[in-house]
């Protein structure tokens, strides 16, 4: 059979129907200008916010802002920085240990129905409003324990808030290890625990780490779980069972004071600026870790 190429088309078939072409070009123009515009609308508030905070924070932002305590109506953020990192450290320690272990169990050991429900429950926990969690922390760790406002109560409540983010990424990280790797490890005589620690763990680690850093970035910027649990203190945290201040609390507490120089309101903006820098920094770390992950497993079949 011989192929008949273009036999039915006469002269002029390089031009086609003009009306159809006009319509296609119109669609193309909308896409070309409309889509970037949508992206601009998405990103504009971010840059506007960074600018808006920077111009209010930077004129009075000095090294002393980071190193001195709050004094009278002004002073520095030192106590809040120490408080925020203490709370974040406690929360991350708790959330990472529990979240990674639970993720490991869900991905490797849990019977399929258990794993299914655990994943649903994990997502549910991630969706609980932070303020509800904060109130729960207040009831369980401040009132019920008779501790009062403490750094420990704040750290644990913040940890509970962060757990589902770490749990989800850890579960996914282990579940995404190619099943061939598991089979090959077992066929070498590895027990499931040895497979997890020697083969799955190094493969999953970068993804788990980026989950932990992401949870830290989210936790660092969280206010609600701490308001009713950590209390407040104008001096650096003195112990786990003492109250503490924290950076987001500075914004919450000081924002509506009068805007005079060296005032509480300036502290609020400085805290906001510092938080922004820290959160962006953590996100950069997440990207770097993710990139390393891609490099490490390049050439491995999914």
């Amino acid at each position: 059979m011989t192929a008949v190429v273009g036999a039915a088309e006469g002269p002029g078939d390089l031009q086609g129907s003009a009306a159809r072409w006009r319509r296609r070009y119109a669609v193309d123009r909308i896409m070309r200008w409309g889509l970037p515009l949508a992206l601009l609308v998405v990103l504009a508030p971010l840059f506007d916010m960074i600018y808006w905070i920077a111009v209010r924070a930077l004129p009075t932002f000095t090294l002393a802002t980071l190193t001195t305590d709050q004094v009278g109506l002004g002073g520095g953020l030192y106590a809040m920085i120490v408080g925020s990192f203490t709370l974040l450290g406690l929360a991350t320690g708790f959330a990472a240990a529990v979240g990674i272990a639970a993720g490991m169990y869900t991905a490797e050991y849990a019977p399929p129905p258990v794993a299914r429900w655990a994943r649903v429950a994990g997502n549910l926990l991630a969706g609980i409003p932070a303020i509800v969690l904060g109130y729960f922390g207040y009831y369980a760790l401040v009132l019920y324990t008779h501790w009062g406002y403490t750094t420990l109560a704040g750290g644990i409540t913040l940890g509970v808030f962060m757990v589902p983010f770490i749990y989800r990424t850890a579960d996914l990280a282990f579940a995404n290890v190619p099943s061939e790797q598991r089979e090959a490890a077992l066929a070498m005589g590895a027990r499931p625990g040895q497979y997890l620690t020697r083969v799955a763990w190094p493969i999953a680690l970068p993804a788990i780490l980026s989950g932990v850093f992401l949870a830290m970035a989210i936790g660092l910027g969280e206010t609600a779980p701490l308001l009713y649990t950590a209390g407040w203190s104008s001096t650096p945290v003195a112990g786990l069972f003492q109250p503490t201040s924290f950076l987001t609390g500075a914004i919450w507490n000081f924002y509506d004071y009068p805007a005079t120089e060296g005032s509480f309101q300036a502290l609020a903006f400085q805290a906001a600026f510092l938080l922004l820098v820290l959160v962006i920094g953590l996100n950069v770390v997440v990207q770097a870790v993710a990139e390393r992950y891609r490099r490490r497993t390049r050439g491995m079949r999914a």
Partner: protein, 261 residues
């Protein structure tokens, strides 16, 4: 089928002896009452069309079949007279004696050295012994010279054929007696395939090799004995030459002459 069909004279006791092996998945029977023997220091090929149970057979021989959920196994598999499905037997030890190489190379995401050392480290072997065994295993797998001493780079940087030989070295390092190979060359190009076949040919001097393949030429090239499976049943098991040139069963004949499969 009561007794395995014997394809020629045999010397010593079989290294692996399969009797009435039946493997069931939740809704079908994958292997149906299979009995056959494998001899030490021989290559046996398992051939048959897709879905005939070849892969399940080799997975049942080192207790890997049970790793998949819902699999039920009946019958007996004896390794040098010892029942591997005895409840007192540790499947981990079975898998160390009876090594496995998969269809696609699966290097662990670690250095070449650590890949080969993996099984030994599980057993807690000392460092000096480790160095020697890693080197010897890489030599046996024909990879040592090509690496030029660079065993610290990632196993994932090797070519597909090299990765597969790395996996063979890794399996050899724990000193198995039997090597199960599930279409080890299926994902490789002809040159790499040839190297694997030459390697299998050499391995017979020290090991029993059970090779699953859908490539009949490959079976003819490397195997002393060949078993033909069809729909979960062992149809014929005999000397490779006889099976290909003068099969006893009609079904075998139609398969080896390419009439189906």
């Amino acid at each position: 089928m009561t007794e395995p069909e014997r394809g020629g004279p045999r010397g010593s006791d079989p290294i692996l002896s399969v009797r009435h092996l039946t493997v069931r998945a939740p809704n079908r029977t994958i292997l149906d009452d299979v009995s056959l023997d494998f001899e030490d220091r021989e290559v046996a090929a398992i051939i048959g069309p897709s879905g005939c149970g070849k892969t399940t057979l080799v997975r049942a021989l080192n207790r890997m079949a049970e790793v998949a959920p819902g699999i039920r196994i009946e019958g007996s598999v004896r390794y040098r007279g010892e029942e591997i499905y005895d409840p007192a037997v540790n499947p981990v030890l079975v898998r160390q004696r009876i090594g496995m190489v998969f269809q696609r190379p699966v290097p662990f995401p670690m250095s070449i050295y650590e890949n080969v050392a993996f099984g030994l480290r599980l057993q807690g072997i000392d460092e000096e012994e480790l160095d020697r065994t890693v080197r010897r295993s890489l030599e046996q797998a024909g990879l040592w010279k090509e690496l030029d001493g660079d065993v610290e780079r990632s196993g994932l940087t090797l070519s597909g054929g090299q990765q597969q030989r790395l996996c063979i070295a890794r399996a050899l390092a724990v000193k198995p007696r039997i090597l199960l190979m599930d279409e080890p060359a299926a994902s490789l190009d002809p040159t790499a395939t040839q190297r694997i076949e030459e390697l299998i040919f050499d391995l017979r001097k020290e090991y029993a090799v059970i090779l699953v393949t859908h490539n009949m030429q490959q079976a003819a090239r490397v195997a002393e004995r060949t078993a033909f499976f069809y729909q979960g049943r062992l149809i014929e098991y005999s000397d490779t030459h006889q099976l290909f040139e003068n099969p006893r069963e009609k079904l075998t004949e139609s398969y080896v002459t390419g009439r189906f499969g």
